[in-house]
Structure formats: C-alpha cells, structure tokens
Symmetry: C2
Subunit: 99 residues, 2 copies
C-alpha cells in the first residue's frame, strides 16, 4: 500500500491495461483476458500483483472471480505526488535565494 508498490505495479504496460479496463466497472478474469494479447493465467497473475499493491479488490461470484478497482488504491500515489510538488518547490525557492 505504499506509493513504491503502486509505481512498481503500474510500471508494467499489461498491468496498466488491465487496471484501465477495470475502470469501466467490475469484471471477471476471463472477461478481462478476452481481447488481450496475453493468456488468461498471465492476466490472473497481474491481478494478484494489482491486488497486493492495493489497487484492486475481488469478490467470489459463483465459479468466477470478479475484480474491481479499490477507490482508495491510488491514494498513496496521489499523496506522494503532492508531497513531491511541495518539497521540489521549496527547494527551488531556496535555490533562487542563493543567487
């Protein structure tokens, strides 16, 4: 659930594609794999990583497993982004003062 995990996770194109597919709404593994250039197990593995990073959640639904985005998942990334802005700006200011 740290921003590091999130970045490592979204650093892969296939994983991004899966994640963005889920943005449209919950979907099963098979549905997600359909139309992808990789096999279903590959998608399943990516989903585990997305889950470990806190980006998606899943629920059992009969014989199939439905995944959906965790709204709070991108929180750490956003927080890091904001914090980065602040510190970088502060550093830039103190740089300007030096000259």
């Amino acid at each position: 659930m740290s921003y590091r995990e999130v970045l490592d996770c979204l650093g892969d194109p296939t994983r991004r594609r899966v994640f963005e597919k889920l943005r449209a709404g919950p979907a099963s593994v098979g549905t997600l794999a359909r139309g992808m250039p990789v096999s279903r197990p590959a998608v399943s593995q990516h989903l585990q990583i997305l889950k470990a990073a806190g980006l998606v959640l899943d629920r059992a639904e009969g014989t199939r497993r439905v995944y959906y985005v965790d709204p709070a998942g991108l929180g750490p990334l956003r927080a890091w982004l904001d914090q980065f802005w602040e510190r970088a700006l502060a550093a830039f200011k103190s740089e300007a003062e030096d000259s």
Copy 2:
C-alpha cells in the same frame, strides 16, 4: 511525455531514488552516484531515461553535467490520476444504479 513513459520510468526503484535525490535541488552525476549502491554509469543511464520521460532537465556546467527536476514533468501523471478518479467514480455510480 505521456503518463505511460512516466509510470514506466518511475517503476524502477533506483530511478526513483535518483529522482527523489534531485528533489533536494540540482546535482551533478558524480554527486548523485555517491552513496548509491550502483556505479556512476548506471546512474547516468537512469538519468537519460528520466530525461526522455520529461522528468528531469540538464545543463552543462564546465566539465560536469547538472541535472534538475522538470517542474512540469509530473503533469501528465497527475492529469491521468485525476481523469482516472472521474471515470472510475462515474462507473461506480452507474453500477449503483443498476442494482
């Protein structure tokens, strides 16, 4: 300069460390490499990738090359993040209406 490049770029721990070091202010390659667990050429290569992603800029300063964060570099990532929120929220709403 797309969010994809930015994410691919920041998906590597060493690259993140270099980038975060630069947050404190401009620094030369040698300075950045000092105290890092990898060699100077490795840092140099990472800097090229960071530069290609639009995250850092560089200027020649005598025999040394100084790198510094591009304030606009994280823009695409932020935009993607915001857009993701909106769409995911919209999808969530229409999901709720279905039930």
